[in-house]
């Protein structure tokens, strides 16, 4: 299934200037309690607003040709980080420097005009992405060819199926020869044959030395593509290292948090059972308790295993002295 196994790894020049330089970046979102409050925020600063810290002093440098995976649970700030790199959103503090053209396989159909034909949309999207007419002309055939739309290319996009739209969007984004490719689990495009084609194309792009940022919940696919990964949690960049190590750090951290949570739940249940008065119905709690205990055991086993694996990995790669700490 995997087509990345035989991929040639690109040599990264670690002494070169980074292509992406994120320096001490923080970003908070203001959550407005109501539409009225958002309207008033136009004219004056809201009093004690609800603030969500999406990025908390993040530092990251990525060099040309590197492929870096982003790990972390939902809401950890991955998407916000990618958005600051693609230049959609702006940090409150710190600076983001990107030296090259970014293509994002995130919003494949963004910017399409439904009433225009596929071919017209190739031009429209090209202009929006910052290409000039001559450049678009040179990639036009490649895009049409890749998207496999046949005669539909001269039909309005509104008549396309959603799969066709995504295919067209994907074809444009991978054919504009970007310097940086941002992929957010977009490999699931169309049918199996097209998926393979997409993976091959991404592989080609990566082999040509393009910098790749990859976000996925599937750790195996990150391992396939990226040598290096970073782990984010609650807006902070907690760990930066080889993908395998980062994944283990992530698992250890996640299990630790889960054990914590499970223990609290068990303590709560125990308290209810202990303090139950006569005649009170506690059958549900009594039923739940062993289940939770069993899960806790499972988690603790996992944690021990992952901790061991992490130790082994570090011993093998850095010798006895642990040189990297989390």
């Amino acid at each position: 299934m995997s087509t990345f196994d035989d991929m040639k790894k690109v040599e990264v020049d670690m002494t070169s200037e980074p292509i992406i330089k994120i320096k001490d970046v923080s970003k908070t979102y203001t959550l407005y309690k109501s539409d009225q409050e958002r309207f008033l925020a136009l004219f004056k600063k809201p009093k004690n607003p609800i603030i969500h810290k999406a990025l908390d002093h993040v530092n990251l440098e990525i060099r040309r040709g590197e492929s870096v995976g982003l790990m972390g649970d939902n809401g950890c700030g991955k998407s916000t980080l990618l958005k600051t790199i693609t230049g959609v959103t702006f940090p409150d503090e710190g600076s983001v420097e990107v030296d090259g053209m970014v293509a994002a396989l995130l919003e494949l159909t963004a910017g399409f005009s439904m009433d225009m034909t596929g071919r017209e949309n190739i031009y429209l999207k090209g202009y929006i992405l910052g290409l000039d007419e001559d450049t678009i002309k040179t990639i036009e055939e490649a895009v049409i060819d890749f998207a496999e739309l046949g005669d539909y290319i001269d039909q309005p996009v509104r008549t396309y199926s959603s799969g066709m739209r995504v295919r067209l969007g994907f074809a444009i984004n991978v054919n504009i020869s970007p310097d940086i490719l941002v992929i957010d689990e977009a490999l699931a495009v169309g049918d199996a044959a097209f998926k393979t084609k997409c993976r091959n194309k991404i592989k080609d792009i990566m082999e040509s030395g393009v910098t790749v940022l990859y976000v996925s919940h599937n750790a195996n696919s990150v391992k396939e593509i990226c040598d290096r990964s970073v782990y984010m949690k609650k807006g902070q960049l907690l760990f930066d290292g080889p993908t395998e190590e980062t994944h283990l750090v992530y698992l250890v951290d996640k299990r630790t948090a889960q054990i914590e949570k499970r223990k609290k739940r068990i303590a709560k249940l125990e308290k209810i059972i202990r303090e139950a008065k006569d005649g009170e119905d506690i059958r549900k709690e009594q039923e739940l308790l062993p289940k939770h205990r069993k899960r806790l055991e499972q988690f603790e086993e996992d944690l021990a295993q992952y901790t061991q694996e992490l130790e082994d990995y570090r011993k093998e790669h850095y010798g006895d002295e642990p040189t990297v700490s989390d």
Binding site: Y29, T30, D35, R38, F39, A41, L42, K83, T86, G87, V88, T89, F90, V102, A104, L106, E107, A110, G111, S113, D115, M116, E120, Y123, L124, Y127, I128, L129, G130, D132, E133, P156
Partner: protein
């Protein structure tokens, strides 16, 4: 500070260059695509509006068939249709610019929240697409004026009024579009006062010919500057600077609007992707 702010807008345009014109064309194509008579709608719609008002004022209310205007101490008499026509042509552009201009960012939401795009150019290319329509309508108007009233060198003032009008409403959208992106309230407010603004503007009637102090108050409505300005150029044979009070009030409003636009755009630009 305004200079620094303005630099951002200028840089956004510079990096975008020729593509602004291509996107303006695209904007037109988008509007009329899929309709059998396509771009003809750009003419049919205003022509029908004009006909309805002309019908009401000339056929319906019979004595309003003629308009008398005091210019250079002479009273000129115009056919109501001609008088209205020259007023309506800038008005069509203005009303479109105010209502659509306020929606510009919201209606191009994808350009703001999904990709890195020079947001201030959205207002420019949509305004451009509206001015293309305006140019076409102006051409038709000029043919009618030439036959009904005749031509003169004063007509060349069109090339003063038209670009100023383009800029004025572009600057207005620098304020309204980011604000409407924040909250649709403003958008609704603008749409609801538009018909009021129409009747407070001398499109159908002569705004100079109102009892004092209303005639003076009308000078503060910048839309009157354009509506009367087009009549200066095509009907009144008068230069734009001849009515000094009108000209300087407008100039002051123009500068204030420009500063407000630059200030508001820069203040809200970076927040827009987070609220849209």
């Amino acid at each position: 500070m305004i200079i620094v702010f303005l630099r951002d807008i200028i840089n956004e345009h510079k990096s975008f260059g020729k593509r602004i014109f291509v996107l303006a064309k695209t904007e037109l194509v988008k509007t009329y695509k899929g309709a059998a008579i396509g771009p003809l709608w750009a003419v049919v719609k205003p022509a029908f509006t004009l006909f309805v008002y002309w019908f009401a004022f000339t056929i319906g209310i019979k004595k309003l068939g003629q308009v008398e205007v005091l210019i250079h101490n002479h009273t000129l008499s115009f056919d109501r249709f001609l008088f209205m026509l020259v007023g309506f042509i800038p008005w069509f552009f203005i009303s479109e610019s105010i209502t659509k201009g306020a929606k510009d960012i919201r209606s191009h939401r994808q350009y703001v929240t999904k990709i890195n795009f020079p947001v201030s150019t959205i207002m420019t290319f949509t305004s451009l697409s509206r001015i293309y329509v305006h140019l076409a309508l102006s051409f038709i108007m000029y043919i009618i004026v030439a036959f009904m009233w005749g031509t003169s060198w004063y007509n060349l003032q069109y090339f003063f009024y038209m670009p100023i009008m383009f800029l004025f409403f572009l600057f207005l959208s620098w304020t309204t579009a980011p604000m409407c992106a924040f909250s649709p309230d403003l958008e609704n407010a603008i749409v609801s006062i538009m018909s009021g603004i129409f009747w407070l503007t001398g499109v159908i009637y002569n705004s100079y010919d109102l009892p004092a102090p209303l005639d003076k108050i009308m000078l503060f409505n910048p839309i009157n500057f354009f509506v009367n300005g087009y009549r200066n150029a095509f009907l009144y044979d008068r230069f734009f600077f001849e009515f000094k009070t009108e000209f300087f009030i407008f100039l002051a409003e123009f500068i204030v609007l420009f500063i407000l636009g630059v200030y508001n755009y820069n203040r809200l630009r970076k927040k827009i992707p987070d609220v849209l």
